[in-house]
Structure formats: structure tokens, C-alpha cells
């Protein structure tokens, strides 16, 4: 990346009024060359004092670690010289359990690993399983799944924004954004019956079609949600405190970010436009018109901007998806994987056998393997499934984006102040359920 100097104009709301009563404009510059030396702080300028390094332990139970992450920090004064993350405090053996469950039975577990993004995970898993079974889903199902994925990106980014604000010291956006999140929850609830753990998809279709009138709810949401984003934008983006606490922190250059395997907004903030929806499309994402926001410096502020813009793009996709939602069946007409309707199962011999075989034995894919990746709110989320011809996978592997993103945290925090560790950590958007699985 070329050396860039960026000027962010901030508005000082109350204290910094000039003589005419207008807000003062303070230019802040981040200087960046090759390996990205953060502007603040400059530890080398401190006189070397005699003294021991201090060891600080954050977590595993700490409000700013978003779950049960544990960071052991070695501090020189207030500067972090070494950071050792410890994870595994939420290791629940998802992948082991997956080997003991049929494909449709695994879907409830996908809700619970990245629990901010349950509908998205359901869709991702179903896509993987369908690849393994060799099933093509219906038109309506494709569009419904796009809606589910983008809604789930929105609610995940909502939680990220709320908690990020709290970590940096702004409480109000948390309350605003959670109101919007509740609206999505209500919509999901009327669709599938659960707020958080949705289990929305089945192999070959969806658990349920959307109820009557649901599209109006969604249209209403699409219309009103951007206003809340604008409010948060006004509140944060040019706020002097916000800018001061995020600019220049935890920067990763593009090459580093790729090499560390970062994905999602973390990677895009560093200037790499890798988005699975664009590069390895699924669910006809190539036919939707949306942009991929790309940052310049890869610092915490850029990650914030990228995610804010992603929410707007999600709204755009939702709008298009809603307009093209076709009529027709949701589930494929394939009784290998989709249960026949109950009425037929009790009256028609063949349907009853299908029903019985599916429930008792489960559908069996041919021998093979599939790795299907989607763009989750955190990055490239992949499900890798290996089948040996039985109804249960031999191996169900989750490629967790925030796991890989978090593994770069020592690189990101070293040289920064202790209080910045919290901001950097929040900007990764970790979710421990996915990291530890």
C-alpha cells in the first residue's frame, strides 16, 4: 500500500467552540509507511527507566473481553510489550458432536457457535450439506436465504456496534441499536418461532416459509433502519473522543492481513477487497448490486467505518431481494431429504416409507467432501464436511473467521497502551462461541 496521510475532521461538540460559536475543526493525521507504525504512542521516546515489567491478566471473565477470552499482557509502564491470548474457555466440542448427528440435526448446533449470526450459519451449513448431497435449491429458497443472511449480518453488526461503543465509553448507541435489533428478532420470531437460536434452514429448503405480511415488516424495517445508522454516524464518526480513541490503533497492512489469514471487515479495512460474496459467490450474490467497502489504513477506525458501510450495503441487498422474491415452493421436491407433508405421510404408503426412512436413518449423501464458505459478518466462514456414505458426517469442521482474526491480536496490540487493547479487541468483533467451538 502506498504511503497515505489521512485527515479526519472532527467536530468538538461543546468544549471546542470558536469565537463565532461554530465547532472547531481539528485535523488528525495518521502517517503510514510500509509496515505501519502507529502514530500513538511512541514507546521508544520514553527514557528507559529501571523497573520490572508488569503482568496484567484480563479475563476470562471480564466485561470487555466479549465473553471468556483471557489476555495476559506484559506491560512496560502502560505500553504493552507482549500479549498472550488464551482461549478455550468456551470449548464445547461442537465438531465432535457433529460426528454423532445427522445433517439436519446439526443445524441447531450451527445456531449456537456464532450466536450473533445464527440465521447466517444455518444457511451456510445448509449450503454445504446441499453441495454434499448434490441438491439444487428452489428460486424462492435462494432469495429467502439471502434475506436471512443479510438480516443476520445486520443483527450481528448491531451487537458489535453496541458493545464496541460501550467498550470505548459511549452507552447511548447501544440502546438505540438494540431497539433495532429487537425489531429483527421479532421478525425472525414470526418467521421461524425463535429469536436467537433460529434453526432456520433444512437441507434442501427452509424450516418454514415466511408468514403473510412479513414482507411489509421487512420493507418497513428497510425504510427506517438507515435513519438509526445515520444517528449513530452523527454521534460517532466525527466525534473527537471517538476518533481520538480509534484512529491509528492496531493497524495491519494489506500483506500482513492476508498472511495472517484475516477475513471479513478486518481484511477489508486493510485495503483488500476480498469478499466471499464477490469472489466466490453463492446464492446468486453476483446478481445483486452492492459495493464492498474497503478501508485505507487498517486501523480500528477503518474497521468501524467498513462495518457501518456494510450495514448500509446489507440494506441495499435486502431491498433488492425483497423486490425479486418469487412465488413458488420453498423446499425441493426430493423425498430423499425433505420430509413429505404430514397428511401424505399418514395416507400414502410411499410417503410414509420416505418419512420413516428419513426420521429413523436420516438422508445419506454419497461419499465425498465439500468445503463451502460464506461471508459471515466476521469474515470467511467455512463448513467442511466429509461423508463416508452414512447419514452422519465423518468430520464436520467449522472454519471460524474470528478465531483466525483473533490469532493476530498479539501483533495488533503490541506497542499500544493498555486502554487501547480494549478498543482493538472490540474492533475484531470476536464471538467466543465461534472461536472456541
Amino acid at each position: 500500500m502506498a504511503t497515505t496521510t489521512r485527515t479526519i475532521e472532527v467536530e468538538l461538540s461543546t468544549t471546542g467552540l470558536d469565537a463565532q460559536g461554530r465547532p472547531q475543526r481539528v485535523p488528525l493525521a495518521t502517517d503510514e509507511a510500509g509496515n505501519l507504525v502507529p502514530m500513538t504512542p511512541a514507546p521508544a521516546l520514553e527514557p528507559e527507566l529501571e523497573g520490572e515489567h508488569m503482568l496484567i491478566n484480563i479475563g476470562p471473565q471480564h466485561p470487555a473481553t466479549h465473553g471468556v477470552l483471557r489476555l495476559v499482557l506484559e506491560l512496560d509502564g502502560e505500553t504493552v510489550v507482549r500479549c498472550v491470548p488464551h482461549i478455550g474457555y468456551l470449548h464445547c466440542g461442537f465438531e465432535k458432536i457433529g460426528e454423532y448427528r445427522q445433517y439436519n440435526q446439526i443445524i441447531p448446533w450451527t445456531d449456537r457457535e456464532d450466536y450473533l449470526n445464527s440465521p447466517g450459519n444455518n444457511v451456510a451449513f445448509a449450503l454445504g450439506a446441499e453441495r454434499l448431497f448434490g441438491i439444487e435449491i428452489t428460486e424462492r429458497c435462494t432469495v429467502l436465504r439471502v434475506i436471512a443472511m443479510e438480516l443476520s449480518r445486520l443483527i450481528s453488526h448491531c451487537v458489535w456496534l453496541g458493545t464496541f461503543c460501550i467498550d470505548i465509553g459511549a452507552f447511548t448507541p447501544f440502546l438505540w441499536i438494540f431497539q433495532q435489533r429487537e425489531r429483527v428478532y421479532t421478525m425472525l420470531e414470526s418467521w421461524i418461532g425463535a429469536r436467537l437460536t433460529t434453526t432456520l434452514t433444512r437441507v434442501g429448503g427452509m424450516g418454514a416459509d415466511i408468514p403473510d405480511g412479513w414482507t411489509e415488516d421487512l420493507a418497513n424495517f428497510i425504510r427506517t433502519f438507515p435513519a438509526v445508522l445515520d444517528e449513530c454516524n452523527t454521534m460517532l464518526t466525527k466525534n473527537a473522543i471517538w476518533v481520538g480513541r480509534t484512529v491509528g490503533l492496531g493497524a495491519m497492512s494489506a500483506d500482513e492481513a492476508i498472511n495472517y489469514g484475516l477475513s471479513g471487515p478486518m481484511l477489508r479495512a486493510s485495503g483488500v477487497a476480498y469478499d466471499v460474496r464477490k469472489d466466490f459467490p453463492y446464492l446468486d450474490y453476483e446478481t445483486y448490486d452492492f459495493d464492498v467497502p474497503v478501508g485505507q489504513t487498517g486501523d480500528v477506525y477503518d474497521r468501524f467505518l467498513v462495518r457501518m458501510e456494510e450495514m448500509r450495503q446489507s440494506i441495499r441487498i435486502l431491498d433488492q431481494a425483497l423486490k425479486r422474491l418469487p412465488d413458488g415452493p420453498v423446499n425441493v421436491d426430493d423425498h430423499r431429504v425433505i420430509l413429505p407433508p404430514k397428511s401424505k405421510a399418514t395416507s400414502d404408503m410411499e410417503s410414509m416409507i420416505h418419512h420413516f426412512k428419513q426420521v429413523m436413518e436420516g438422508p445419506r449423501p454419497p461419499i465425498g467432501e465439500a468445503y463451502v464458505a460464506v461471508e459471515s459478518p466476521k469474515g470467511e466462514k467455512g463448513y467442511y464436511m466429509v461423508s463416508d456414505g452414512t447419514s452422519k458426517p465423518v468430520r464436520w469442521r467449522i472454519r471460524p473467521p474470528s478465531f483466525v482474526n483473533l490469532s493476530a491480536i498479539p501483533k495488533m496490540v503490541e506497542g499500544h497502551l493498555l486502554s487501547d487493547v480494549i478498543a482493538i479487541n472490540a474492533s475484531i468483533d470476536i464471538v467466543m462461541g465461534e472461536i472456541d467451538r
Binding site: 469472489d279 464492498v292 468445503y371 466429509v386
Partner: protein
Amino acid sequence: MSDTFLPVVAGHAEDGRVAPPSTPRNVPYQNGAPNPSAEALRAQFADAVQRVDVVWGETTVFVDRARVLEIVRWLHDDPTQQYDYLSDVTAVEYRDLDRPIEVVWHLRSLPHRRFLRLKTLLPKGQPLAVPSVWDVYKGADWLERECYDMFGIRFEGHPDLRRLLMWEQYKEGYPLRKDFPLRGRFSRSEQLRQILAQNPEAKYSMEELTVLEAFDELSLEQRNRLRSGEKVGE
């Protein structure tokens, strides 16, 4: 789109070099078109490439275990391949316990929009070890540690191969191995007793950062690992 961002429509690959991607449809079970990199690998490392499979449109290249690092480095550096992104490192053990364990690397070439699966076979009854690709991809750090933790596969050349998800004194074995029972080897009360006997604060110390200093407190297994010449510390 707000003016802060450069609008990007086509993703990371350079325009014109590769065809615009589209959602795969009606993917054939077998006999799909293989990834061109497979041929290139054959040409470059004839004897090290054991087999090329195409299943559900994804190309799997089985390679010789000893040359994994060399092959991965070539894939990463060669200008016609540019596999610059490591998606995943994991392993597969089959229910047929005589089948070898497979170690799987999922690689992506962002400039060429390619996806390649590398595999290597680890026969049972031999020490489970493969070369680490940490030298090429820094992102492999935790992925390999996790794989070691769950399968007991040693990644030679990894700078800090410790358990990641389970705790260092975990005695029951490697959870994702097929001979490991779903509920663990010990009874629930024994599992609870073992973990509660650990003092959570005992580890909040400087020793934690440099394992060597806490050598005497380590489990026998870990000591043996350290003795065998592994690098320690973070």
C-alpha cells in the same frame, strides 16, 4: 456509498485476468474440471503429487508428507499460482480405524480466484507429524495448534505447539480422534475433580509467559515434548 470508501465492485482479483465468478450450479459429483493448479503441481513436483481428485467441483491434491512445506511455499510464491491466503488447516480421521488420518489444507488464491485443497496421509501406527506451514502463512499458528490439540498431530517447525482449547494438563487425550468417546474417558465426577483441583490463579504469573521457567510444574507429557527439542515460550 459514502465518499470515505473506494467503491469496489469486482472483489480482489484484478479485472480482466479472470472471468467474473458466478454461483456454481449443478456441480457434478465427480469428473468436474480440475483446478489448473493441480496440473501445474504435477509438472513441478511430479513424484510428490500422489493423486488428484475432483469431488463436487473442488480439487484435492494428495501430496507427499515430507514435501508439504516446499509445495505450499511454491504455491504461495509462484506468480502463476499466488495462493496467498490460507483458509484452514484441519485433519480428518475416518471411522475405519485402519485408514490413514488426512491432514487438510484449504488454500485460496485471491488474485486468481482459485480454491485448492491439499491433503497428506498419515498412516496409523506411525508418529503423526507433518511439516508446519507457519513459515509461509502466519495465520497457520492457531489453526495448527488447534489441530494438534484435537488430533495430536505434531506440526514440525511450529514455533509454539501447545494445547490451545483444552488446558495443558488435560489428561484424557485428543478429543476429535475416533477412539475418544463422546463423553470423554473419565466419569463426570472425575472430570470435575480434576479441573477443580487446578488453581485458576496459579497460572497468572510470569512463568506462564516462559514455559521453561515453570518446567517443574508441567505435566510429564508436556515436559517430554519440551525435552524433544521444541521451542518454548511465546
